[in-house]
């Protein structure tokens, strides 16, 4: 999708207003995909439950189907065997989609510096937010999630990459 | 609308159903074609009921529905049994009288 506004100021403001609306919708309705792999998953569950309550940000709709979810929280170390599965599920998610690498292991391999574990999930899928910690506490994940919301709010869903590049050079 | 239109439509539908029974070999589609023939007859019954101003025709349709329901239940059970024994629902492959 892309839209060329040709420098028309009225059109540009309208497109910007629409983009803001879309971004607002996307940022406040991020449905996570259940992808707990190891100990971090326990902290992820804690984030969704009573004390921390991810639901406040409209993100408690944990969907089991990749087709209906927007955010993959990779919670735990990704073994070499899990890698292809993770990539497969990521490909099955519908655009736009985001990934949070939760914990040291999924960010960079963490303590598992060996042949069996993929050294950072960003080797197979693009990661938007890295959350440090082993495991990160729920408030860390919440902070990462809010960072992701900020990132989504800065997106330009209606403008093509070419136009964005031109805007930057101006 | 004159009743002839409804009767001719019913005739067309009945012929389509008969064609399906004669032409297809898939037991399930043959089954549905038989249902189509029953429906065509139902349509003419309803047409006659309207023509004569007598609800008896509609009551007959009610009975046809009952018979169709019973037929479907038993027929589908038989088809599933045949499928379990022979692994096919093509009636050309079911030409011996034993399991």
């Amino acid at each position: 999708m892309g839209m060329n506004t040709n420098g028309n100021p009225v059109l540009t403001t309208t497109v910007e207003a629409f983009e803001k609306l879309i971004n607002w919708g996307r940022a406040n309705a991020v449905w996570p995909f259940q992808f707990g792999l190891a100990c971090c998953a326990i902290e992820m569950m804690a984030t969704a439950s009573a004390r921390f309550d991810l639901a406040r940000f409209g993100a408690e709709m944990m969907r089991a189907s990749p087709r209906q979810s927007d955010l993959m929280i990779v919670a735990g170390r990704v073994s070499q065997k899990m890698g292809p599965v993770l990539r497969y599920l990521y490909d099955q998610m519908l655009e736009p989609k985001w990934v949070i690498a939760m914990g040291d292991c999924s960010s960079c391999g963490g303590v598992y510096n060996n042949y069996a574990v993929i050294q950072g999930v960003d080797k197979i899928v693009p990661v938007d937010v890295y959350v440090a910690g082993c495991p990160p506490s729920p408030d860390n994940l919440l902070y990462g999630f809010m960072k992701l919301q900020e990132k989504i709010a800065k997106d330009h869903p209606l403008r093509s990459q070419k136009v964005l590049k031109e805007l930057k050079t101006l | 609308m004159p009743i002839e239109n409804y009767l001719i439509l019913s005739g067309i539908l009945f012929s389509i159903g008969a064609l399906g029974v004669l032409m297809r070999r898939n037991a399930l589609i043959i089954f549905m074609s038989i249902e189509l023939m029953l429906n065509a007859v139902n349509l003419s019954f309803i047409g006659f009921a309207r023509q004569l101003g007598d609800p008896t025709g509609q009551v007959i349709v009610f009975f046809v529905l009952v018979v169709a329901a019973a037929e479907v239940v038993v027929g589908l059970a038989i088809i599933v049994n045949i499928f379990r024994a022979k692994d096919t629902v093509d009636i050309d492959d079911i030409d011996v009288l034993r399991g």
Binding site: L21, R26, N28, A29, V30, A55, G58, A64, Q68, L94 | -
Partner: protein
Amino acid sequence: MGSPPILAVLAVIVAKALVVIVVLLTAFAYMTWLERRLISRFQVRIGPNRVGPFGLMQPLADGIKLFFKEDFVPAGADKVLYYLAPGLAMVTAFTAFAVIPFGPPDVQLFGVPLFQISNPNAGILFVLAVTSIGIYGIILGGWSSNSKYSLLGALRSSAQLISYELGVGLAIVGVVLLAGTLQLPEIVKEQSGFFFGFLPRWNIFVQPLGFLLLLIGATAETNRPPFDLPESEQELVAGFHTEYGGMKFAAFFVAEYVNVITASGVATTLFLGGWQGPFVDQFPILGPLWFVVKIFAFAFFFIWIRATLPRIRYDQLMDVGWKLLVPLALLNLAITSVIVLIWPSLGGGS
């Protein structure tokens, strides 16, 4: 007073239908919000509260997000049926509401009752017919996705819906016997007045067993927990809509919640006196208000049940349907017929 112009009548009917559709869509949106807030409360959480006051804009954000998702058809899917299925589910969900009266029939414009879209002679049977068409949305969605989870979900739901339709139908027949008519406004009128001067003459007090059976059956028919086996995520990913995302998934979502509202409406009409309540005789406009209040009570109940009960096993589901619901509904029917026979004043039969 001559007969009103046909165009005006048509305009009134169309306007009625449009208003009902818009109201139902809004009700759907806020039912998702209510469900998320209430379940959060039941689980000692807070629930969506960041967008708008009390998170009231949450449904809007969800809608915008789903609307701008990628449009997608799985490989090997039957494209026509894949697109048809969510539409079918949604349309039938809305259509079923057409015969439910949400206000007194005396309020008329150009001779058209304002508080009911249509009043066919078959009345309650129309609801059953339309919901039975609604099954096709689920079956087609599950089959056309070309996925084994979807297919299993569709198989489960078709078996479940057929089983529970029987119990629901039989439970409804008890009320129909009492009222002596299939038309819903007449059934509501039948329930006006009081027992012993204080107890409203609602069918729930005459037919408590029938009400209970209808409630269980309606929960199962609308695929709500604890009967949400067609979409149980622990076993079937997301059941029949596993392969659906974006707006097509939203359509299934709308269908599910509108079905809940319709089921609540039917239960209200049949057992809780429909739009009847204090002061409706003096101010007919209060009718829809009472109706909404009663529907809200049902919606709250359905959400409460969801937060409380665990999902039952599939064989238990079938057991409840065939070994409990149907025999009890038959018993209820037999008792009701005997009572109506020996005490005709209770039943309105001609």
